[in-house]
Amino acid sequence: MDIVFQLLFQGIGIGSVYALVALGFVLIFRATNVVNFAQGEFSMVAAFLMVIFSVDLEWPYWISFLLSLGGMAIYGALFNLGVYFPLRHRTYLPVIISTIGASILVSNSTLALYGPQPQVLQPLLDFPGFNIGTVYLDAQYLLIIGVTVVLVAFQYWFFEHTLLGKKLQATSQDKEMASLLGIPVATMIMLTFVYSAMIGGLAGIMVAPILFVSIHMGGTIALKAFAATIIGGFGDVAGAIIGGLALGVIETFGAAYVSVPYKDGFAFLVLVAFLVFRPQGIFGERVAEKA
């Protein structure tokens, strides 16, 4: 029985990372109606910023952490200006191609700078973890789960209880109407990219000590997060979180009981199953347009 709790804990830990990245996906999708294929690179860039600040420059961990998050805010703003903004009046296709281009550019620039060897990043916390009974709670996983809970709570409060949150929602639902009311649509979308880059970056920084920091980490995380959004119901915030957690748990149990080499395969097995049997996801389309 203890092994089940152990796996559940680890599954929720890694699932939290998928949930955070999925959240970033959904927020950008809702604001721009476009899937950002460079979402995973938000996590990768943040992890490399951590490597630059804390490993290469040997700056204190927490300062590096704050600088990396600040760097991600700037990265998100530049990403919006360079990748989305010039194409905002076009259809979704040029924007999608633009995000794919950005993804390739960023990974290959990183490859040129750091080479193919994975980098190692130390965990954020000094103590390794502790036992409850025979279940070992790793500090890094605890941190990831804790930060995710706080962020999700913050985001719920922000979107449901602040006027700015309502304006962001209005922008995602009808941009033309939002601009008719005087809501600064371009600024709202800019804020969405900044926030999305920051939570994606946070996920990358937190998962970096568990995985390695490499140019491939972005792609892996983005695919899992994408699967999570499909499972939860595309465009649904709660669905992204539940989908991410579910995916983390499924692949952890799958690795333990079925096959370790096929660990990454389980995510896509679940994804395909959902696309075939329940394409609208767990939560479906909650908001339907009335004819």
């Binding site: 602040t162 929602q169 809501i183």
Partner: protein, 246 residues
């Protein structure tokens, strides 16, 4: 000086000329209705005023200032609120939240004050008070129309542009919406009202303009327009309805 003045405004959608040299004006405190059949250019006129569509030529003056080159966000901050065709209520926000966002053009107003003003809107729109915490997409057409008009009023506009507020509504709801327009007029807000339903449009207006395929054909007082055979002939809607009512 008129509150809003269009001078020889033309609008093109690709090859199609939706407005051809339209000139009209609305004085402060007036309710003016813009009548015409489908595709006459009524909505295009409103879209040109609120900045959603750029005129190909001509000039639009609001309080004597040109609106050329300004986007919708800037124009609504100057005091022109546009309640567009199809109501466009945000589907995933509640009626109350939709109405609160109508104040987005006003700066330096606290959330508490906006909240109170939105509450006060339900005095005028008492029919939707029970639905204020219901998501927009679940509201009926009439309820959505009331939310849309209330949201427009939250901008505290000097000029309110209403596009087909009666479209797709049951007759009893249409008369409710027009009662509200009369109340808005009584409170002194200037209104430019687009209507296909000529009888309802003229019933609340000081003056009317009739558009036909992008051109103004006639203008005058409501009773002059109503008794004008050309106007009746200009679009079947008014003619048929007038005949049905007689």
């Amino acid at each position: 000086m008129p509150l809003i003045e269009l001078k020889n405004v033309s609008v093109r959608y690709g090859e199609i000329e939706a407005l051809r040299g339209v000139s009209l004006s609305v004085e402060a405190g007036e309710v003016v209705t813009l009548l015409g059949g489908n595709g006459a250019g009524k909505s295009t006129t409103l879209r040109a005023i609120s900045g959603l569509t750029k005129p190909a030529s001509g000039e639009i003056l609001f309080e004597g200032k040109s609106l050329a080159g300004l986007g919708p966000e800037e124009i609504v901050r100057m005091g022109i609120a546009h309640v567009p065709e199809g109501r466009r209520v945000f589907p995933g926000l509640t009626a109350h939240e939709n109405i609160m966002l109508g104040a987005s053009n006003r700066s330096g107003v606290s959330k508490t004050q906006i909240d109170q003003e939105a509450d006060a809107m339900f005095d005028l729109f008492s029919d939707i008070r029970p639905f204020q915490h219901v998501l927009g997409w679940t509201l009926s057409g009439g309820q959505q129309q009331m939310v849309a008009v209330a949201r427009g009023l939250m901008a505290k506009p000097k000029l309110l542009l209403l596009d087909e507020p009666s479209l797709g509504l049951a007759p009893v709801i249409v008369s409710k919406v027009f009662e509200i327009i009369k109340e808005i007029r009584r409170r002194g807000t200037t209104v430019l009202l687009v209507e296909q339903n000529a009888r309802m449009g003229l019933s609340v207006a000081d003056r009317g303009y009739v558009l036909e395929t992008g051109r103004l054909v006639v203008t005058g007082k409501p009773d002059e327009l109503w008794n004008n055979e050309d106007v009746r002939a200009a679009y079947l809607g008014g003619h048929a309805r007038a005949a049905a009512k007689a």
